[in-house]
């Protein structure tokens, strides 16, 4: 209820400045826009009240694990052995290779279309199901998501091979 009052108060403030920020371009729905603004205001309210969420270690570790999913997937496909347990202590060679692979991946991804990079991020960093990616990015169905993912992964594989990742196999 507090959040609701806060929301109304802020929408009303400065002669409805926030509400007047909505640009009716005929394509963006007012309701969608209002959901965006309302969510932001609610988060502001929660932050003011309880402070910013502490950056705990757990999500960080999870994010790291998620990021490795793509590396692992590529490693598997590229037949780079030993990457799966690369972080294991006492295997400096595999650790080095994983680092190398990550660096190569970052370099290759930088040259990709933003849309494809976003697709990979949502899939492998955020671990979203294809149906949800479709809703976020505006794919018609989840099958379109899979199709695009496969195409992008194919490009990624080719680009990584082009960088000689496969050849780095001892």
């Amino acid at each position: 209820m507090d959040a609701y009052a806060y929301l109304l108060e802020h929408l009303r403030r400065d002669d409805f400045r926030r509400l007047r920020g909505y640009v009716a371009d005929g394509r963006t729905k007012f309701t969608t826009w209002l959901v965006v603004v309302a969510r932001r205001l609610c988060l502001d309210h929660l932050r003011q009240r309880y402070g910013r969420p502490q950056e705990s270690e757990l999500p960080d570790r999870e994010a790291h694990a998620a990021r490795r999913r793509l590396v692992d997937l590529l490693a598997e496909e590229l037949d780079v052995s030993g990457v799966a347990d690369a972080t294991a202590e006492g295997n400096p060679e595999a650790h080095l290779r994983a680092k190398e692979l990550s660096r190569a991946l970052a370099g290759v991804l930088a040259g990709f279309e933003p849309r494809d990079r976003l697709l990979l991020k949502l899939r492998f960093d955020d671990g979203l199901p294809a149906s949800e990616i479709g809703q976020v990015m505006g794919f018609a169905t989840q099958f379109h998501v899979y199709r695009r993912l496969n195409a992008v992964l194919g490009q990624l594989r080719a680009a990584m091979r082009g960088r000689g990742v496969q050849d780095s196999e001892p």
């Binding site: 920020g21 909505y22 640009v23 371009d25 394509r27 963006t28 729905k29 309701t31 969608t32 826009w33 959901v35 965006v36 603004v37 969510r39 932001r40 502001d44 932050r47 279309e113 933003p114 849309r115 990079r117 976003l118 991020k121 949502l122 955020d126 979203l128 949800e132 809703q135 976020v136 990015m137 505006g138």
Partner: protein, 198 residues
């Protein structure tokens, strides 16, 4: 990503509310969309926001339009119904062997006379589905009933004996009987008789 819309420092450098909404509604031009997607690919905070919003926006139930409050919508619909030629019902509706259950009542709309007019000879209103009877009443400015009648039609002729004073405001409304002893009323509409145009 102009910050003028969102002076809050925590959103500076991030996507504007308008951009996020436009992205979710697929309303961005290709170049704009590419720019937004490039930001989303690199910015965890904005990506988290867009994913959460996509869940919110897509999960919203569709408004059930036929249950929307009557008001202006019904008035517009009723007026349209009156003006448009009736489409063949079998083309639009699947065969129905039962009378549809009436879940909403559409109020009749007083169509004419309205506002300043030169002569008032008859009253016209929109029809209400399943209404078998209409009751119309004309009032003067003090609310006194000048004339009242009932009809099954959607038009009635004003009798000669009512003398409207030029320039004085009058009101009228129509009620439709939708079922036994249930009446749904139009808004009260004002009109006045001006001098005849030369």
């Amino acid at each position: 990503m102009a910050a003028h819309m969102y002076p809050d420092p925590s959103y500076r450098g991030h996507l504007e509310a308008g951009e996020v909404a436009a992205y979710l509604d697929r309303a961005l031009a290709p170049s704009e969309r590419t720019r937004v997607e490039a930001h989303l690919a690199d910015c965890d905070a904005c990506r988290t926001e867009v994913v959460a919003l996509a869940r919110l926006v897509r999960a919203r139930p569709n408004p059930r339009r036929w249950y929307l409050p009557v008001g202006a919508l019904a008035a517009a619909a009723a007026a349209l119904l009156l003006l448009l030629p009736r489409p063949e019902p079998e083309l639009l509706e699947p065969p129905d062997y039962r009378e549809p259950v009436i879940t909403t009542t559409v109020a009749p709309v007083a169509i004419a006379p309205r506002g300043a007019i030169t002569t008032a000879e008859r009253l016209v209103w929109s029809s209400v589905p399943h209404a078998d009877r209409y009751r119309v009443a004309v009032f003067d400015d003090t609310g006194r009933v000048l004339w009242e009648t009932q009809t099954s039609d959607t038009v009635t002729v004003l009798p000669d004996h009512i003398r409207f004073v030029t320039g004085a405001p009058y009101h009228w409304k129509v009620q439709a009987q939708t079922s036994w002893n249930r009446w749904v009323s139009s808004d009260l509409v004002e009109f006045s008789i001006g001098p005849p145009r030369p």
